[in-house]
Symmetry: D3
């Protein structure tokens, strides 16, 4: 076992995962630095427990600029009454807390991308230490894991909930039942090509039910997307039997990304003009977006064309685009 | 006359404003700095002229993170055929060009907010030198001025075209005819409390017809908002008689911001959850948004309430908000 | 009158200076910037008023890294009961609020040194706008002004309260009575050579009673220096008749800085070793400090010598010193 | 042996450790970077040797913002006459030399905390390369190691000399004899919970006598604390028999930190007001410090309470504090 | 085999290395970051192939501030007609492309020095990922490798082409034939003391013919040095038989750097005055350069003396020098 | 008189301009800032005086990245024996001393370009305060002013000495006699179009003899260019009669820049390849340089062509060029 050779995590929790009731506390990670020799990163955590039952681990802020998850989870932590609960709900509204406070995808401390840092290291960077704590302490406590994502400041997505195609088909089937329960406007079956370092993979490799979302983006949340997140997490807890009541069922469209042709990249930078909006149908070879050169007027734009037909499922968000940026993602309905 | 005592502008144009045909060139502003002792800022400009007729001065990028204007104007500069024109069209797609290249509201060189820098100074900052060139060279050439704005990276607006309430009612009436011709989904009559330093005021004080827009925001543009901008500028040129053809008429809703009660400010920072989206109707005293404290879970959110009833016309865009930020703007239909 | 030609201040107060009772509010200064197009600086202010009587204007954080004033004033704002008050107390615990939040002497926004920014400008920098608000709105409301200073991160002082030698001897005498009432361990009569731009001068030129302090430094406060500040402000309010009760009288030593020979400057940078501590007596020509060259071992230190005999009243605080830094200040007892 | 598989250190010394006399030189560490392709870090070192005898390795600047050690050691390097010496004294006044030049705890090059970088790596970061040189070259030369620390810019300590509780009780006893000889006002027996990466541990694991200090802090040194350091190092050399003469014996109070209850952390940020100063006695449950919220006046402060009774042995230094910072450390006398 | 255990490279090429003709494309390296969640580094590459024959791998921009190589290679990529080619030419004008765009020696992303990053890592930093791609994909395709260097912004060199003294004398001999063919004004036989991490070593260890250059420096290129590079690369392709025609033969002087005495380092920083220029003959003990202290006038300069006689082959370039910088390099003619 | 209304300069000199002998001292400019509340800028100055006679004011470092002047002047300050002098020599080797220490054209404190800051302001920025001191204190003391320039980090020049075409032909003639005496390889008659803010103009307007130089560039100095500067300043002092002895006469070629056609600007950024070197003859319409696009291989370069025939007198120095940079300057021999 890899874990047994590792140092203990430097993180200590101010909550007791085994105690009944509501506890609001912190994961305290010592972090010595120029502006605080004996400072710490204090990651807010809530544990709500009531007797026996399954454990749901609910996380947002895996990337720090994605807001539907943190909104739904700070709200849930505030409102969920332990009397309503059977089992345990562990809520970490902002996993990569330094990134969340900075409003950035990655940690301002070490540029760590939390979702490429698993299984983490107890003696690594701040981001790796947090990942290690989830790997060795929190994930083992969980039965069902819901990790919220959105597009962040640089991407915008159609709102969907998703799970992965997995080798263990029973595990996969259970996950997709949770996706259905979540009830986002869109739902997706994802096949991860390069799953190394992901929180998703860490959870799935332990046999946990893992579901995730993309619920908008651009570094903001709307009333609409926040409501999807809040309803979704309640539905997930209902489906898990942790809270009682009927699932607030919603229609959903199932999407698939069949190949690399889904992705359209920019080979040149400039001012991007989209000719389609999210949810629009794009025919193969159509110009999805034009990239206008900004160095002078009168210069011919670069065209970004669809390599397959599909729905515009995600797009580059900022008004300027750089060479190498993913400009658009298409998906097909299934 | 103030101008006669000023030094000549250090900016030189590589285009001839009196020549017929299409010219793509630059406003060259010498800018000596550590990384280029004899460097310049090169602001793209297009002049399209055909015989006698009115002059339209079309500008975008007054704030560098607002994209509908630059998209419509780089596109127009590329496509407009002088044979279609009667009179002159002067296009500067990105007035505050250093800000536009940086994707920021203000200039990265001097933090200059172009729309608070008029009438500018020939021996001032880079932003002030650009303002001075518009004040003394470009505005005097124009009959009709269209300046595109959007919300930028930190605000999001319902799309509208607008003009100001003016002391000269004939000038005002003509401006609102152009607003109607523009054909945005919303239109607004604005009363500027503090108009000092604005490009708008500079143009209006010279007796020019001046119209402006807010066409979305968040530091991006959609296919929808870019199309509004492109259609609007064509309608404006048609209404001015500079290009021929029927105006592509569109329905519009007229809005008004009757008092300071339109504005709702955040007194505390945190994670903002909007309970309404743009265009939604909000009753007086309703909670428009909640600001969730991010230092710990379980803390009570701050509420931002409506001080009047109205439509949600603009909102703070990023997911985090700081104390003092304008959270929401309401407007009433007229 | 200079003021009548100026624009109105862009700052609006959320408190009513004429209302009885306690009000905690803000001076809201609109500040448009890249990360908040419609943002503001929100400077906390408290007004405590009860009927007729004199007005005391109490300020800290004129320099943002000086802490005794803010501690005493945030505490006073929290605790002072309007029932105890006769007249009015206006408390601004952190004048240069952006600097205070950053823990720096000057504003991180514009590098403005508040105490060199008076009389300010309504259309200037953020720091100048705050100065202008004090100049035109707050100072005219006041009878007695107490402005707290300490050494900040880069200087350390013996704790003293002070007032200026003034042309108006009646005004001067009243000020020194307040200095005596304050009751710091040391008291000083200051003759300002270059008083241009100071808040002190702005207040004194209006005929206000103005006193100030230096209460330690190094970018921190001790329990001892905070207690001096808290006792001092209470004594000042008692002496003014704004709150009732006996002055908590304290012994004080009067200091004087008779000439430029008080100051000892470093002509070379390095690691500074003081041979005397604050309050020690230094004879003329004695080596106050040695500056050890840090580029190599075995190099001869530079010596900083006393140009007069006196008490060590202030010293450079950080362990490293730069050429041109004031190393030490001597004072004589009177 | 781990070492035999490692590359040789890239560091070369310009001094000969085996030569008699005084040598002032450098540890030269090649460091290729954007502003010097063939640059180096030049760490000052002095070797003073006279015939046979023990070797003392004396270091300061392990953290770059702690000044008593560098003052005492630059001074000693300048003054120590080899004729007075029996054996060898190796002096490195600033181990983490880039951090020392920057006045920061960690290296500005790689953010390396020297005291968490042992045993280092010859092909690692600059900080790791320095650690590796101490690990493989300098520590093996030493019999007694004295490493100076203080609180740095963000902590302040009662002045003490210390050694560790060790498994080898003979080694431990010798170390505490040196602590007694040092003669600081306070002395401490430390039990390191997490000793991984420390210079202390590296030395102790080789069987060396290792003592260390905390001699004040706040990013400065006083005449008093510098004198403690200078006297202490002389006493240590006398106790080791390297220089002759009587130890300048001083009274000391022995302190102990019996449990984690010694530490009091801040859970919220703000303006910190200490109610006790260093050396004061604090009863269990007493409020050690109050943290005043800075976002508005009139808000209730957070209280930091003592979890045990004891002497205030260390405190957070800067006037502002962040959530997660260690606010205070208590110790008991033994 | 080390390679078989590694993950596949995350880099994908948009060119087909086996197709005949000219292809201009990219090495696309996914790089998720705050300003582009799904961004990439796009490294330009050209493949020119015509039937069977040897493969030359031509690289510039190994360090990003060295320009002769990129000039010669962007030019060659533009001009080389596949009809002229027998075999294959793979051109990467800027290996460390992020560094090249920034005009810096190392990568602005990770501070990676490409020539100390081999063999790289597929899951390492951006620089290590690029190195890994060369190690595992491009170098195996090559028969002859030419890697252009110059002095960069901080060094200036006499223009030379070079190869290494190698254990395999046949390989070494072939390399020196290519050096002779290149035809730089100077040629050098280099013995690398510390070859760890170098691209050179990676290529040579695979048995490839590897030659390199130093062709000037200072962060610029002259018409003269660019012409040397352009002629040299053509000569190399001719010598390899990849393009036809006579070698444009040039006289060259062979240089040797016999020992560490070649290098003269600065022990103090300041303003550097060279007393010799590149190519000048310097006698042993002569003052090569004086370092003028800049803190005050009238201070004695430090002298940098020659430790051997020779030609001044390289020098520190910027006008200021820091302690530890290599000031001058001497070479002898052979 | 403008000056009489101004505040006194805040700068104090530690030298006595009227005392005979050599004095090395400082211009001390108080500069309060975050890292030193009572800090100063200490600008080195030397005064060498011997009885009656003319005063020469010698300056370097007007731009901080130009090194021939500082080398010649730190050297002269060190070596010039007052016994050799008749009259007075005032030497300021680095006028914009903060810029000089940073190795940048402009001041790192305020981005001030010293040569666009005259006449300065006593209450302005640091750069303006220095300019004001020269304007009101130093220039009035001088008869002859020599101000050294070179190309700095971003330009490279043929080495020349120059003076301006002036309305006062007697003043002009005397200046050109000094240019001839200086004895640079090239000499130039300059007609300044926009002389506002220049030190040159400030001196000339007072009737002083003012000469200047451009002696190379690229942010470095060679043995050759430093020797030109050292010989030139000695020749100037001889010609002025301040030191005795024959002028070390040198051949020079006179250059003229007849019109704006001398300047060739880059309209696009990229990698610049010069086809001519400094001193080469370029025919009208010839391609002086090619700008290679760096975004992809195979893209057509932009050409920078000569608008007149002439000698290449100056060029952009760094390997990359930005749109708007001056690429090349041609001059004609006269």
């Amino acid at each position: 076992m890899r874990e047994q050779h590792l140092r203990p995590s430097p993180i200590s929790a101010t909550v007791d995962f085994e105690a009944d009731g509501v506890q609001h506390g912190f994961l305290r990670l010592p972090y010595s630095r120029d502006d605080s020799a004996w400072g710490s990163v204090m990651i807010p955590i809530t544990v709500i427990k009531n007797g026996e039952g399954p454990t749901a681990l609910l996380t947002g802020g895996n990337h720090g600029d994605e807001y539907e998850g943190p909104i739904a989870l700070f709200d849930l932590a505030l409102k969920l009454d332990p009397a309503e609960v059977r089992g345990r709900v562990i809520i970490v509204p902002a996993m990569n807390y330094p990134a969340f406070l900075a409003g950035t995808r990655t940690s301002p401390i070490d540029k760590g991308n939390m979702n490429r840092s698993f299984p983490g290291k107890p003696d690594g960077t701040v981001t790796e230490k947090i990942a290690d704590y989830f790997q060795r302490i929190l994930l083992p406590l969980a039965d069902i894991v819901l990790d919220f994502h959105s597009g962040g400041r640089t991407l915008d997505f159609l709102p969907f909930c998703a799970a992965h195609i997995l080798p263990d088909k029973a595990q996969e089937a259970k996950a997709f039942e949770f996706v259905r329960a979540f009830g986002a406007p869109y739902s997706m079956k994802m096949l991860e090509i390069d799953a190394v370092g992901m929180y998703d993979t860490a959870a799935e490799d332990m046999g946990k039910i893992f579901i995730t979302t993309e619920l908008g983006g651009g570094g903001s949340a709307t009333a609409l997307t926040a409501a999807i997140a809040k309803r979704g997490v309640a539905n997930v807890l209902r489906h898990a039997g942790i809270i009682a009541g009927e699932i607030d069922a919603q229609p959903t469209r199932w999407l698939d990304m069949p190949s690399d042709d889904c992705f359209a990249f920019a080979e040149d930078g400039g001012l991007v003009e989209f000719l389609f909006d999210l949810g629009d149908t794009v025919e193969q070879d159509a110009v999805i977006a034009r990239i206008l050169p900004v160095g002078r007027t009168g210069a011919k734009p670069f065209e970004v064309r669809a390599r397959m037909s599909g729905l515009l499922a995600a797009r580059h968000y900022p008004g300027l685009i750089k060479a190498g940026d993913c400009c658009a993602v298409l998906a097909v309905t299934v």
